[in-house]
């Protein structure tokens, strides 16, 4: 057993869970962000129906991230959550409103516009809060003896506001490219039309964050400018994906914009992890400091290695069942 670096394995598993969450809940949160700007109520119906059968599963990856963190890296869990206390509340409140909107909106009559706003507002707040978490992670946390000692709003800085807005733009891009894939006619036209401006917005934030990040933290600066040059491959690949989005929107391709957006997210994410590796609670604790007891990590690992492939299989199957275009006017309900 001494051969196994359990914390490392768990870092990979949780890293995988987080990117699964970002990609999957990302596009349905993105639809929520785009909701108020949709051409009409019909388009909103299609947008919602395109994710109604799967959103619940998408969001479950977030719960896995939380529970997995508690199980494998309790120190991260018990520092991040108190430090982001107010942000976590906003995130959860947002997720509540958008979650119930899926059921309530189709049952509402005159109050339907309220649930439109609940869905849109909830998605925006949740996305912004998640973006702030990313920023706060780059920023680092004030700790003493493994306990968070900072204030309630330390996480809220101009930098985190920027990452918050950046993630909103990114999710919106995932949403629009998903909609290209799942819709047709004038709704798809609209999705094509907004994709390039959204891409531009993402790239602007991407550029500012890239320039800013090295100044936020010395360690990140060293990492990017001296230690490993290989790291530059990640932003380069992300930019290549961005170009692909641009190109395939022009070619009216239906699937590629979404795939390329996922690629852009993936490489940005890897770049982010690389700049902080192996610190999980910057600037103090590495993933080995934060790990739970080996027997606990092992106990869970055995189950997860067995179950996660099965979960992925039936998740894929569920997407397969609901494949194809969502027709305007057809309610699943």
């Amino acid at each position: 057993m001494a051969m196994l670096d359990l914390p490392l394995i768990w870092a990979v598993i949780i890293g995988f869970g987080v990117i699964m969450y970002v990609l999957m809940d990302g596009f349905d949160l993105g639809l929520g962000i785009l909701f108020p700007f949709a051409p009409d109520e019909q388009a909103r119906d299609v947008m919602m129906n395109s994710v109604a059968p799967v959103w619940d599963g998408n969001e479950t990856w977030l719960v896995l991230g939380g529970a997995g963190l508690l199980a494998a890296f309790p120190l991260v869990y018990s520092i991040f959550l108190p430090a982001l206390y107010i942000g976590v509340f906003l995130l959860l409140a947002g997720l509540i409103f958008r979650g119930v909107a899926f059921e309530f909106r189709f049952k509402a009559r005159t109050s339907r516009y309220l649930w439109n706003w609940a869905f849109a507002g909830g998605s925006m707040v949740a996305s912004f809060a998640q973006g702030c978490v990313v920023g706060a992670y780059i920023q680092g946390f004030e700790t003493q003896n493994g306990v968070y000692v900072g204030g309630a709003l330390d996480w809220l800085t101009p930098f985190t506001v920027l990452t918050g807005l950046g993630l909103m733009a990114g999710y919106a891009l995932l949403g629009s490219t998903w909609l290209i894939l799942k819709s047709e006619g004038y709704i798809q036209e609209w999705a094509y039309k907004i994709t390039r401006p959204l891409l531009l917005a993402v790239l602007v934030v991407f550029a500012i964050v890239s320039v800013w990040t090295p100044f936020v933290d010395e360690l990140v600066r060293d990492r990017w400018f001296s230690t490993i040059e290989v790291i530059w491959i990640f932003p380069a690949l992300a930019l290549f994906c961005a170009f692909q989005i641009f190109r395939h929107v022009g070619k009216r391709s239906e699937g590629m914009p979404f795939v390329a957006t996922m690629g852009m997210f993936g490489f940005t994410y890897l770049g982010l992890l690389a700049s902080r590796w192996p610190y999980v609670v910057p600037p103090e604790y590495t993933l080995w400091d934060a790990a739970s007891a080996p027997e606990s990590q092992l106990f869970l690992l055995l189950g997860v290695l067995f179950v996660i492939p099965i979960v992925l299989m039936y998740t894929a199957w569920s997407y397969w069942v609901f494949r194809g275009k969502v027709k305007a006017g057809v309610g699943y309900h």
Partner: protein
């Protein structure tokens, strides 16, 4: 600021848990019921079963949605308000919650989409399988969460070292002494909740003479279940009580408001326990009964609250009264079960108005019972979070201020009040629509394409925001509708 973060966090957790608990307890029972209905339909092809299943699935969807979102809050609350507890217990609680996610939540979420929206997209057998998987998911979820809770009540198989619990034996920790009782009690409570809600709604429809055939079937099924389950639940509850007496005597003393360790303890029907004076201000009771019930001996010695120092006693009156509410609800359930049997034998089950009316009101009884039972077990544990090992004060987040805890407490109350009000409103809308014939349901059914249609036919070709899009026109016979579950022709 003078606000106490511990008290506020306790109130917050109690509020969130209570709010959350009513949904899973209903969906666990309902998921199994839907699976049974789907199974019956698959076997017999009797459209009544499909009608019932389609209807209760709609109810399930609304309730499940509220359960999911309130559940997500809970999984993060450990970290936000009880970070010391999270940190200390992570070696055990962490893997449990993670196992719950990968074995239960994903299963539910993955197959729920197919259950709700996939009736015409997958073969009937696969749809039935999805219903079974969703039901199975609810049980697995209950299993893990009750393992965690039971362990906090009767911790075993761990050792506290360097500020953390370390697991010495997984099997001892998971199958801790109170787990079997708690799990059985909870699963049966879920079945009773499902039964009483379905029975109450069916009774209401029968009073209105709506869909008589299907609703009679539903009512009859539920009453059979209640007849056997309600008394069995009392027996399980009794065993659970004995187990609690063995492991958490203070809690049982609080349930009985028994201050002194003594023999011949009376069963108090009414009392006003007061922690300050360490006595009851008033009490009316039946002599010997508590000794008899708790020790199964007329003169049995029952430990009293004073065995623990005052600062290790729970707030007695909450525990005492919650326990009485739970027991009273349980007895009412047994009576309704027996009443149903009597009416069935005399052939008046479906025509006795007072009984059907009574069943309508009984729909809330299981929720009251579950919540009060939950109060008994959770408040009765105070001031411990992990019984005998970690207090609530030790468990709270160090950086948490009273102001922050108050802010989020108010926040959750506001958010939940809005969501709950809306949820109950839409639930009643679904109930009002009922499970009538397909044509009728279509007339009244909200479809994305005609959001205002339920408000009435005037709007059918009328003006709503999306009218200019494709597919705006006449819904009733539109081929688009063939895709909707209720309208599919194939039975």
């Amino acid at each position: 600021m003078d606000l106490d973060p511990i008290l506020l966090s306790r109130i917050q957790f109690a509020f969130v848990v209570s709010f959350h608990a009513i949904f899973p307890v209903f969906t666990i029972g309902l998921a199994s019921y839907i699976a049974v209905l789907e199974g019956l339909f698959y076997r017999t092809q009797n459209p009544a079963w499909e009608k019932l299943s389609a209807f209760w699935t709609k109810v399930f969807a609304v309730v499940f949605g509220m359960g999911v979102v309130s559940g997500i809050v809970m999984s993060f609350q450990f970290g936000t308000n009880w970070s010391n507890f999270s940190q200390a217990s992570a070696n055990f609680i962490g893997p449990l919650l993670s196992y719950e996610v990968v074995t239960a939540f994903f299963l539910e979420a993955g197959f729920l989409g197919v259950l709700l929206f996939g009736r015409d997209k997958v073969p009937p057998g696969v749809h039935l399988f999805s219903a079974l998987m969703v039901a199975l998911g609810t049980f697995i979820s209950a299993f893990w969460i009750l393992v965690a809770n039971s362990w906090m009540q009767t911790p075993q198989g761990v050792e506290f070292r360097d500020g953390m619990f370390h697991v010495l034996s997984w099997s001892e920790a998971i199958f801790n002494p109170s787990f079997p009782y708690r799990f059985t009690h909870m699963v049966m409570a879920s079945f009773l909740t499902g039964s009483f809600v379905v029975a109450g709604v069916s009774a209401w429809y029968l009073l209105l003479k709506r869909e008589v055939e299907a609703n009679r079937k539903a009512l009859s099924m539920c009453l059979w279940l209640i007849l056997f389950l309600a008394p069995a639940q009392a027996v399980v509850g009794d065993f659970h009580g004995l187990n609690t007496l063995e492991h958490q005597p203070t809690k049982v003393a609080a349930m009985e408001a028994n201050w002194e360790t003594q023999a011949d303890v009376p069963l108090l029907l009414f009392a006003w326990p007061d922690n300050d004076t360490q006595s009851n201000l008033v009490e009316i009771g039946i002599p010997h009964m508590a000794s008899l019930i708790l020790t199964h001996d007329w003169n049995g010695v029952v430990p009293g609250l004073k065995e623990s120092p005052p600062d290790e006693q729970p707030p007695v009156w909450i525990v005492f009264w919650s326990f009485r509410v739970m027991v009273a609800m349980g007895m009412l359930m047994i009576l309704f079960g027996l009443g149903g049997l009597a009416l069935r034998i005399t052939g008046k089950l479906y025509s006795t108005r007072w009984y059907l009316q009574g069943l309508r009101f009984m729909s809330v009884a299981p929720f009251l019972a579950v919540l009060s039972g939950w109060f008994v077990t959770e408040v009765g544990r105070a001031p411990w979070l992990v019984y005998g090992m970690m207090t609530q004060a030790e468990a709270v987040t160090p950086s948490l201020t009273g102001g922050m805890a108050l802010f989020t407490l108010i926040g959750y109350i506001v958010v939940y009040a809005m969501v709950f009000t809306a949820g109950v409103y839409y639930l009643f809308r679904v109930l009002q629509m009922g499970l009538e014939d397909e044509d009728q349901v279509d007339e009244e059914h909200d479809r994305p394409m005609r959001p205002l249609s339920a408000a009435h036919v005037t709007f059918e070709s009328g003006d709503y925001p999306g009218k200019d899009g494709p597919g705006k026109d006449n819904p009733g016979k539109d081929s688009d509708f063939d895709a909707t579950p209720l309208n599919k022709g194939g039975h």
